[in-house]
Amino acid sequence: MLLGDLLNMASRAIWRKPLRSILTSLGVVIGVASVSTMLTVGSSATLKVKQDISKLGSNLLTVVPGQFRFGGVRIEAKPFKPRDVEAIAAQVSGIKEIAPASRRGVKAVFGNKNWQTTCTGSTSSFLSVRNWELEIGRSFTETEEKGGAAVCIIGSTVKERLFGQGDPIGAVLRVDKAPYKVIGVLKEKGLTFGPDSDDFILVPLKAFQRRISGSSDIGMVYVSVQEGYSSEAVREDIRRLLRERRKLAPGEPDDFEIRDLKELAETLSSTTKTLTAFLGAIAAISLVVGGIGIMNIMLVSVTERTREIGLRLAVGARQKEILLQFLIEAVLLSLFGGLMGLVLSLGASYFLCKAMSLPFVLKPWVLALGFGFSVAVGVLFGFIPAHRASKLNPIEALRHE
């Protein structure tokens, strides 16, 4: 007996009852479609997170004063001073650029429009450290930085809110009542997580300290690591230096934090991966339900075709040949459902990715998994009915009404 004959028999049995076959495989269609849609959208989300993080700047360390709780009260550790930044720049090797920054919520006003946003005071290296690019205009000049000139660079959200479609370059807007001339606009970053990084005003650090915060404190320090240096080593050097400068005794915990963007990226993408696996597992439940549907119909079919099985046994079919015939029928049903499900999931995940503005990436392993799952479901749930068919007594089967 040839495999081709078995396939032919099974597919003819399926075609004989088209509606029933379609309804039976519908369970697997839905199961495979949901599993592969979850996995595709999930891996697209992971990719998106990775892309977003690389937009934040590569090899970026962020040094911030620590926060800790003391008797239920949130206490912020003492901020950094310009001398700390100078010390880091001078004593730690492997630093490409360093940008001290301070931030505060401000009200920006232009004409009759006003907008609540955050203002950051920093140097021009802030933009290159964070990989941010200018859409139009220019960055600060050295003179502007040193003198704390009243100039600013604005993010795309601020531009839209205050200027709409108009050209903001050269305009003077008021930040907490003090006037600043707009010299540049940042490219839109459109990040999907975290605070809106386009809602942002950048002014020279000196200007921020003098006119907005009124102190020389530095809220955070951005450090970009040179190519060829490990960010872990640079991080450790900065830690040692800061502990020394902040006079922490050995054994005392750090009262500051150094965040590595690479770590954040890994944490975030492993989170989305876990979430993807979790959603995939939930979707797999529907695949099991689909399998039960196949088992149910195959059991009905074996009962209906008892006489046919009896005849096949009488003309000399062996048990394994009957078993294979029904098993292949179940696998074909399931496979048909699986292929339909994959087609459906292609469409569904494409539209979902578009709707959530994720990049649509089709992973071959998702297709392979959907294919493999549907074969496995067919074999697993087709076995019991097929086994029952093969164990029929030919005489009783022939007499079956």
Binding site: M1, L2, D5, M9, R16, R307, E308, G310, L311, R312, L313, A314, V315, G316, A317, R318, Q319, K320, E321, P394, I395, L398
Partner: protein
């Protein structure tokens, strides 16, 4: 001396156990040589169908010995018996047992699929068998497009397509009118006489049995009489 095709010795068959046990056969012995045409006669419940199922290796005796072509059927596994049926035995049933929505040709090809023959050879042999039963030109008809007599001819073609040593028929005319019955019986006689096929049929009708050269009468699981013509 050449061993007979079929040899039954003190064959008993019991269905069920204990109180509910039914003795279908209570010690049957018979020999059937190759080329014979035998009818097994009896009222319903006489054990004639059980006897035929045992001869066809669909069932095994509870006790006693059955040898087919020198092989001890009792000792064979169900798969080995399936191979015996596949290679040496053809069945014809009272209710035809054709697969519906399947053409006459495909119905006849079925046993050849299990013999592992390719599509071309199958078609050739199936057409030959259909020709032999007088259904040339009807091979693309489905069972519901054929009369009862024609359906039984398809079933006979299916039984003989593997060129079996033994053709077994269980009440082959039970569902047919008397005129059709006669033509079916003529067909069996021709297969026996002209093609040397050993035919064993089960019936309760005297005039059907009269086509056979030997008649074995069963009653309550025992052989009561045998006659030859």
């Amino acid at each position: 001396m050449r061993s007979p095709l079929i040899e039954l010795e003190e064959v008993h068959k019991v269905y069920g156990r204990g109180e509910a046990a039914v003795w279908a056969l209570k010690g049957i012995s018979m020999r059937i040589e190759e080329g014979e045409f035998v009818a097994i006669m009896g009222a319903s419940g006489s054990g004639k169908s059980t006897c035929l199922n045992i001869l066809g290796c669909l069932d095994v005796p509870t006790s006693g010995r059955y040898s087919f072509k020198g092989m001890e059927v009792n000792r064979l596994t169900s798969d080995q018996r399936a191979l015996l049926r596949r290679n040496y035995i053809g069945f014809v049933f009272q209710s035809f047992h054709l697969l519906d929505r399947t053409t006459a040709l495909e119905n006849v090809e079925l046993p050849l699929i299990y013999k592992g023959l390719g599509p071309k050879k199958r078609k050739e042999m199936a057409l030959e068998a259909l020709e032999l039963v007088g259904l040339r030109g009807r091979e693309q008809h489905r069972p519901n497009e054929l009369s009862g007599g024609e359906q039984q001819r398809v079933a006979i073609a299916r039984a003989i397509v593997t060129r079996p040593l033994l053709l077994l028929a269980d009440e082959p005319t039970g569902n047919l009118d008397s005129e059709t019955s006669r033509s079916i019986m003529e067909l069996f006689r021709a297969l026996n006489r002209e093609h040397g096929m050993t035919v064993v049929l089960v019936t309760h009708e005297e005039d059907i049995a009269s086509y056979a050269r030997r008649r074995i009468y069963l009653r309550d699981g025992l052989m009561v009489r045998e006659e030859c013509s």
